[in-house]
């Protein structure tokens, strides 16, 4: 049980219990020392406080034994340990597999459109600014909380965030 010294040192000084490391074990060690994962994950995350994705990557998804709904709710609240996120699904017309995007990672429509243009490798136009919409261009639409499909960009960004449910990139000549 040589792993014990590692696992306990996160909360108790390893010099306090030398006896445990001498316990015999002739069997192969369990493959994953989750406690080390936990510790490493947390120390990595504290050195990069702004990178919310590293927090979620390092936390094991199967320990401690919590059901997903509770785990998510707790993680969201979790003492501001993680940045809040707002992931929405994004589909492009003609492509059955969608993507997911964190809207909170953007501050305005420009940033959103630029990211989506890169993600889907297309030009997304703003209907106000850009002229004549040809067949190969796309526009960005969203489904709001009432189930209606609207053009992105009409309401202030903050208001958009409170009402958007999912995004769709459609061909310009459809609008």
């Amino acid at each position: 049980m040589g792993k014990i010294t590692n696992s306990s040192s996160s909360s108790i000084d390893s010099s306090n219990h030398p006896s445990i490391s001498s316990a015999t074990s002739s069997l192969p060690q369990p493959k994953r020392d989750l406690s080390t994962d936990l510790r490493l994950g947390l120390s990595i995350s504290t050195s990069q406080p702004d990178d919310s994705s590293s927090n979620s990557r390092e936390q094991p998804s199967d320990w401690p034994s919590l059901k997903p709904l509770l785990r998510c709710t707790i993680a969201e609240k979790g003492n501001n340990r993680q940045h809040p996120t707002l992931f929405v699904k994004v589909y492009m017309e003609g492509i059955p597999i969608g993507r997911k995007l964190d809207l909170f990672a953007h501050n305005n429509y420009d940033s959103l459109v630029r990211t989506l243009s890169q993600m889907f490798r297309t030009t997304i136009l703003c209907p106000d600014i850009d002229e004549v919409l040809s067949g190969n261009d796309h526009v960005l639409t969203y489904e709001d909380k009432e189930g209606d499909w609207m053009m992105v960009g009409d309401v202030p960004w903050e208001m958009f965030l409170t009402t958007v449910k999912r995004l769709k990139i459609t061909r310009a000549n459809q609008c």
Binding site: M1, K3, I4, S7, S8, S10, S11, I12, N16, H17, S19, I20, A23, T24, S25, S26, L27, P28, Q29, P30, K31, R32, L34, S35, L38, R39, G41, L42, Q59, S61, D62, W63, P64, S65, L66, K67, P68, L69, L70, R71, T73, I74, A75, K77, G78, N79, R81, E143, K145, G147, K165
Partner: protein, 582 residues
């Protein structure tokens, strides 16, 4: 030989026998009792959907009205079973659509349910009245819309902790205006919004509604209207319990709650604002179940609420309650039977709240009826476990989760073997046990020796050798489900106790030391077991036979190997699998 009673009389007598165990015993008396019993059995419970096939069930029990099915193993709740493993309900629905046109109730747990399955249910059973889905996935709100629209006599629609894809389309509005039969409507796990006007109208016209569990999208200011339309409610799951502080909302809430004189169960409490809690006080004296698992409020506010609930029997709460709150609970709630304390910060390295073993000891002292415990904490001592065991020999379910794996007794630095040993020794009716902390093979010796009524055991990061597993498998007479992760248990204990596995529902072992060779042998020798190797790396036959597999799931079955396995699951000992490897 002439029988004293005609069949009709026996059938009438059997109609008073409800428990499955008793009905199974009845059917073993003689052939004619078997025949009579099988024609009049109305409810069946299938604990493992792969233990038997729909065809076999239907052949034996032709007149069933209520079916319960469970799919994935319990550890699937914690992401230990890869996506796509199985547990599909559609084959069952399609078989029952033909065989059981009078089916009324369907209860599914940990199964993959599709919109097609829900649509088929809604069209196939004219008297369908109850659908309960617990921890299910694979369907969308479109499927719910079909149930709402087509099931004329629907009494119960309960979604518990399901993963549902929320499409807009307003499933709730699909309940026709003529639907007045609902008794229970529970959708707290849905993420999306529902139409309030449809909900209000539905609640208004369903005058028998007893249980209503909303999701967090229903804002607090809509709650008074709903409650006023359903003063007969017994079970309420609130939506978001937060709003800016407005006196008129507070008084509307207070009046609405006061009107619900029969409320026994309260849950929801998302985003709860403490100032609104006193609005519930008028009903608290009658509350027997309080679910505060989502209420991120501090101990003082929790204590004030709990002190109002003098008749509380079950409490689920976050560890914000702290030891001080548990002391108050022990002092106020003498009828408490079940306590669940969940961690508010499970990934933090250090305790964020002052919740220790003392809190649990307090409750075990103050609450004489306490029999079911689920407790997440960060420290424990053998002494505390001794005290709990001696205080509460009536304990039947004891699940302790010390968050850091392999944590020893923090005072003596010893393993917690003796403490758990005391639990199994004193609590002679213990049916369910989850272990945690630093544990050697000794704890399993205690369990094998004393836990004679134990039916389900969950083990993680414990033990030292195969002896541990052997103690449990050779000792626990009543064992039905054993789930193990990250323990140094391997082949020997499985071989020696192979026949024990036929007396159990299932065995799960992940990240242990079970070799592929042993699994093959077990599968070959035990035809009445499905020995499933679940391994997301390359096929196990491409590696040395002595190498440990990722996951093992063994269950008894009379249906033979299943045919719906994904690419990362192999059934051992099956001729078809054997030829795939060659």
């Amino acid at each position: 030989m002439a029988y004293s009673f005609p069949e009709e009389v026996l059938e009438h007598v059997f109609s008073f026998i409800h428990s499955d165990k008793d009905r199974n015993a009845v059917s073993l008396v003689c052939k004619s009792w078997y025949e009579i019993e099988r024609w009049c059995r109305r409810r069946i419970f299938v604990g493992n959907c792969y233990a038997v096939s729909p065809r076999i069930v239907i052949r034996r029990f032709p007149e069933v009205r209520s079916v319960s099915l469970k799919g994935k193993p319990h550890f699937a709740d914690f992401n230990l079973v890869p996506e796509g493993w199985g547990g599909y309900v559609y084959p069952w629905i399609s078989a029952m659509a033909e065989a059981y046109p009078w089916l009324e109730e369907l209860r599914l747990k940990r199964m993959v349910v599709t919109d097609e399955a829900l649509e088929l249910i809604s069209r196939s059973f004219k008297n369908f009245s109850a659908l309960v889905l617990s921890s299910c996935e694979g369907f969308t709100t479109d499927g719910l819309a079909a149930i709402a629209a087509n099931c004329r006599n629907l009494k119960e629609l309960d979604l518990r902790e399901c993963d549902v894809d929320d499409r807009s389309g307003n499933w709730l509005s699909h309940f026709p205006e003529s639907c007045t039969s609902l008794v229970s409507l529970s959708f707290s796990c849905l993420e999306g919004e529902v139409s309030f006007s449809a909900l209000e109208r539905l609640v208004s016209r369903c005058t028998n509604l007893r249980a209503l569990r909303l999701n967090h999208s229903v804002p607090l200011d809509k709650l008074p209207n709903l409650l006023r339309r359903a003063p007969q409610l017994v079970d309420l799951g609130m939506g978001a319990y937060t709003a800016e502080l407005r006196p008129e909302l507070y008084s509307r809430l207070g009046n609405a709650f006061a009107g619900c004189k029969g409320l026994k169960s309260l849950s929801g409490f998302w985003d709860v604002v403490p100032s609104y809690l006193p609005a519930t006080y008028s009903v608290c004296a009658g509350i027997t179940f309080l679910n505060l698992s989502y209420a991120t409020i501090q101990s003082p506010d929790l204590i004030k609420l709990i002190r109002q609930c003098r008749n509380l029997q079950r409490l689920w709460v976050l560890d914000y309650i702290e030891d001080s709150g548990l002391n108050a609970l022990a002092a106020s709630c003498k009828d408490l039977e079940e306590l669940r304390v969940f961690p508010s910060d499970p990934f933090g390295q250090e305790a964020n709240v002052s919740l220790t073993e003392q809190g649990l000891v307090s409750v075990s002292e103050g609450c004489p009826k306490l029999q079911s415990v689920l407790y997440f904490c960060r420290q424990m001592t053998n002494a505390a476990l001794f005290t709990i065991a001696r205080n509460r020999p009536n304990m039947t379910r004891f699940r302790l989760c010390i968050i850091e794996p392999r944590t020893p007794d923090y005072l003596t630095l010893q393993p917690l073997d003796a403490g758990f040993g005391a639990i199994v020794e004193h609590c002679k009716d213990l049916r369910r046990l989850s272990l945690s902390g630093l544990l050697t093979d000794l704890v399993f010796e205690y369990i094998g020796t004393h836990a004679q009524k134990l039916e389900m055991l969950s083990v993680a990061f414990a033990g030292e050798s195969d002896l541990g597993l052997h103690h449990v498998l050779s000792g626990c007479k009543s064992l039905r489900k054993l789930e193990i992760r990250d323990c140094p248990f391997g082949d020997k204990a499985l071989f020696v106790n192979a026949s024990k596995l036929e007396t159990m529902r299932s065995l799960w072992m992940s990240s242990c030391s079970v070799s592929f060779g042993a699994c093959k042998l077990l599968g070959q020798k035990m035809p009445r077991l499905n020995v499933e190797v679940i391994d997301e790396r390359a096929p196990p036959d491409l590696r040395p036979e002595s190498e440990p597999i990722e996951r093992l799931y063994v269950y008894r079955t009379i249906a033979g190997p299943r045919l719906d396995m994904p690419g990362f699951v192999w059934t051992m000992g099956d001729e078809k699998s054997a030829t795939e490897f060659s």
